[in-house]
Subunit: 164 residues, 2 copies
DNA sequence: GCAACCTTGTCAGGCGTCCTGACAAGGTGA
DNA sequence: TCACCTTGTCAGGACGCCTGACAAGGTTGC
């Protein structure tokens, strides 16, 4: 018995429902993050923590995957550099480019963030049913892989290294 | 075989996955809306179309449900009034207040929007499986009702009319 | 009846986020 | 070598939403 099956005027479009869930989930994450030692990290910084790993990534590549302009990402990276979470190192293969990578502190923050996200998801699994949340994740991963392949790290990496 | 089960570094936090799905879905909606006669409606206007129906709603109430300030909603309403989608009528019960309601054109737009959202959702049901999308909606409606009851029109209405 | 207080909507001003346009410096191919 | 592309940055602006302050109108207690 869903609300939509009872009252058409209370029907909420799927994107709106997805946003509500995302916001609620993200709010739980933020609440915990803000109390940690990484409380100065803002939501916008996510595009860097989400895509950068290991040997670093070019500004252009981050921008493409995050579906943002280079300028916007550049601003965010500036901020993360100021706060000591990221650094720019010259790309040995291309003197125009700089590789954006995380500092030690940045990697700690990234690891901490992943842990928090996992914890919130686990709480929701207890709240709404482990199988339902697992099914949700599975469906969403399928959607992500199909709708915006470049936002999925694994696929993006494969696309970057077609040979190696 | 999900990506998360194979490669931990490709694991995407649930809010991110939800956003990806929401964005993809919303992009399909926007593409169709922009080609319609209501192409001048912007995403921000949604908070009005989503909550206003029938005899109108006060600015304060829209703001509360949309989780925004009165000022922000006021700006959006101004814009919708300029474009002929909404109007302010004096509240007969409170001379301070004005009821924001849709013009005829606004109601057409609202109906058209709902139809488009339903059409996109149906397409996704064909693409990803009707039962999976139905289960997704059901879970998300449960989440919305629990996490942010005031964003759900049916619940919000009930809360506004505790007696009647 | 009246004073203290709350609510409603608006004006003014500001901040964060992201955009377009233009550019120098560096790579690439004929 | 020359024309062309890419990378990252600077400048400026649009948009969405915020806080603060306020007048006009309700509401409550005495």
């Amino acid at each position: 018995m869903t609300s939509s099956s009872k009252n058409p005027s209370a029907w909420i479009p799927l994107p709106g429902l997805l946003d509500i869930a995302s916001d609620a989930l993200f709010a739980e994450f933020r609440a915990e993050l803000e109390q940690s030692e990484f409380g100065d990290i803002r939501p916008t910084h996510g595009c860097v923590f989400r895509f950068v790993q290991g040997h670093g990534l070019r500004l252009t590549d981050i921008a493409e995957r995050a579906n943002m302009t280079k300028q916007s990402v550049g601003e965010i990276v500036d901020d993360l550099v100021d706060r000591g979470y990221a650094k720019r190192i010259p790309d040995p293969d291309d003197k125009r480019a700089k590789l954006i990578c995380l500092t030690e502190r940045g990697e700690s923050a990234q690891a901490h963030g992943r842990k928090l996200f996992a914890r919130v998801e686990k709480r929701w699994a207890e709240r709404y049913g482990a199988e339902r949340i697992a099914a949700l994740r599975e469906l969403l991963e399928e959607i992500a892989a199909r709708e915006v392949p470049f936002a999925v790290p694994e696929i993006a990496q494969a696309a970057l290294k077609p040979v190696a």
